[in-house]
Assembly symmetry: C2
Homo-oligomer: 332 residues x 2
DNA sequence: TTGTAAGCGTTATCAG
DNA sequence: CTGATAACGCTTACAA
């Protein structure tokens, strides 16, 4: 390629890059030859010199989860705009796979990473991830030290949802979750309890139901919960699978939503929006999460070590629909 | 690192790779030094020599679509097992972005690609993609020539679904789709018509409704369709958004499912499974699609140019649930 | 402004 | 079995 344009290697390089200190003629010749030959510089060779791969990694527990997938899509769009490609690793919440993916990322010398570990952020994984000093942005997980992070205000969201139900007259509300350890769940649970506390309500009315797997909620346990004499008059379902299970359980017990049971979904999905009755839900912008994460990372990659901000906290909205109503008999 | 182990560069290389022609002692020393230093070979430098990046690209119209995301997850799992990382590009159905992503892939010298273009496979995009002779596996799109491909038997699926509805007594069935050009839709439409033809039914009973965007189905058009005197007694909804729109329209017109209207979803989602009544759906294994695509690509990457097979066709199942019933008044 | 040459971290070739 | 040495395709001093 160098000689096809009749110039030296370095001129080609200069022409293709900054374009600084390059005569118009050479620039023209080079780009002519380049397009004639279909030439594209080799990123690997270039990266070997410049120590940059033009790629960023993205570590998520499950890319098939629509919430994660939407975040990834938004991040990818922004990053590609800036010339980076996105490498994804879906780790299935398995700490072992997380560590091995982190190792792969390191070996590949990725320029930066977006991470949302599935396991609680145990030290080994983090150290592995951040060992090389690669810029990392944490997505909706507990950041340690001063790591840049994109956080969602799940606590305020859950608090608002709980207040809303309390305002409708509910005093026995169950929060169903498949996890109580990772940041989103922890924050929601905290918000849930805060709403009870701030009104000096009997905290016993705030029932926390934790199952190992979302699937479990679809069956026996939820049915049992609803068949209990002192059953909750409202349910907050954390996650699509749990919402589905809850709705099925309500149907199976002959409870009508919202007359007999109010249902509120944390996370707005097709299911929540299209169900009859439409499900009142907590919603936050996944696009914003992905975009903000990309932006924070780009900031670091550009070297703005202390950019405008190193943390973004995104709001959660309560979308009122038809699945919540005052309880038939106000209790408590 | 070379000297940390007290041996030569080449010995390190040999020890870390094949391990062939390496004495036990050296192997030991090298791996000891490697783990002490936290050394990991640089993929870029290695790739520069070996002309391989250990990465494969994945081009999808929309990674946030749960169908695509699930395929990507399965493919990524298999590919990572084999030592490859997955680079994703979500192109939003925009031919321009598709081409630019293809260019990026080329510049990055990816070893192979999994592609499901959103636009119909126009020549420019394809040529761009395959220009370098990089192994490509097509996923659920029309393959040209002898490209390896993973296909889903949408035609047989749609035919089975249509037969099932006809068997229940339906004679006016509407197929709602947001696209009639890409392979999946085309095949489904073909299967739909075949089912009518094979029984010598009035082909006018097979109503094809095509809208530019899935969102459109949520509103006026579907309502109009259902309010028509000669309204269909059954609807086949292609895609989540359309299913949601259909269900909402049914609710708004006071039509009860399945008594007044049978509904069948193409693609099994949370919405279909959790809805009341649960929606009968056409289902195929997205994991199998992803896995098969990865397998086909790996086969090519290993150089088995004519492996056991270069095309996989995956079956579609009809999952019977509660949303279909005989029409109240058999017509036609 | 341009060309020459060194070197990025590996693997591959080829003598020892 | 091992070690020197030359690429791989680029960028970047430095020299012209």
């Amino acid at each position: 390629m160098a000689k096809a344009a009749g110039v030296s290697l370095s001129s080609v390089s200069r022409a293709l890059n900054g374009g600084k200190n390059v005569s118009a003629k050479i620039a023209r010749d080079v780009s002519a030859a380049a397009s004639k030959l279909g030439y594209q510089p080799d990123f690997m060779a270039r990266g070997l010199r410049t120590r940059s791969t033009g790629m960023v990694g993205c570590l998520v527990p499950d890319i098939a989860n629509p919430l994660n997938a939407t975040i990834v899509r938004a991040a990818e769009a922004r990053l590609r705009e800036a010339g980076y490609m996105l490498v994804v690793a879906s780790t299935a919440n398995d700490p072992g796979r997380e560590r091995s993916a982190a190792g792969e990322f390191r070996g590949r010398r990725l320029d930066g990473m977006l991470v949302a570990p599935g396991s609680d952020a145990n030290d080994t994984t983090w150290r592995e991830l951040t060992a090389t000093g690669t810029p990392v942005v944490i997505v909706d997980r507990d950041p340690l030290d001063e790591d840049p992070a994109v956080l969602v205000d799940h606590r305020a969201g859950a608090q608002a949802a709980t207040r809303y139900l309390i305002g409708l007259g509910h005093r026995r509300i169950a929060l169903l979750t498949a996890d109580a350890r990772m940041r989103p769940s922890r924050e929601r649970i905290a918000g849930f309890h805060e709403a009870f506390n701030e009104l000096n309500l009997d905290p016993g009315g705030a029932q926390l139901c934790i199952q190992a797997s979302p699937m479990d909620f679809a069956h026996a346990d939820t049915l049992a919960l609803l068949r209990d004499a002192a059953r909750p008059t409202a349910i907050i379902a954390l996650g699509t699978r749990i919402l589905a299970g809850t709705l099925r359980a309500a149907r199976d017990t002959g409870l009508s939503v919202p007359d007999d049971l109010s249902v509120l979904s944390v996370g707005d999905t097709d299911l929540a929006a299209a169900h009859t009755p439409a499900i009142t839900a907590l919603r936050w912008s996944l696009d914003d999460v992905g975009r903000a994460a990309a932006e924070l990372l780009l900031q670091r990659l550009r070297g703005d070590v202390d950019g405008p901000q190193s943390r973004a906290v995104l709001p959660v909205d309560l979308v009122l629909r038809e699945s919540c109503a005052p309880p038939r008999v106000t209790s408590g």
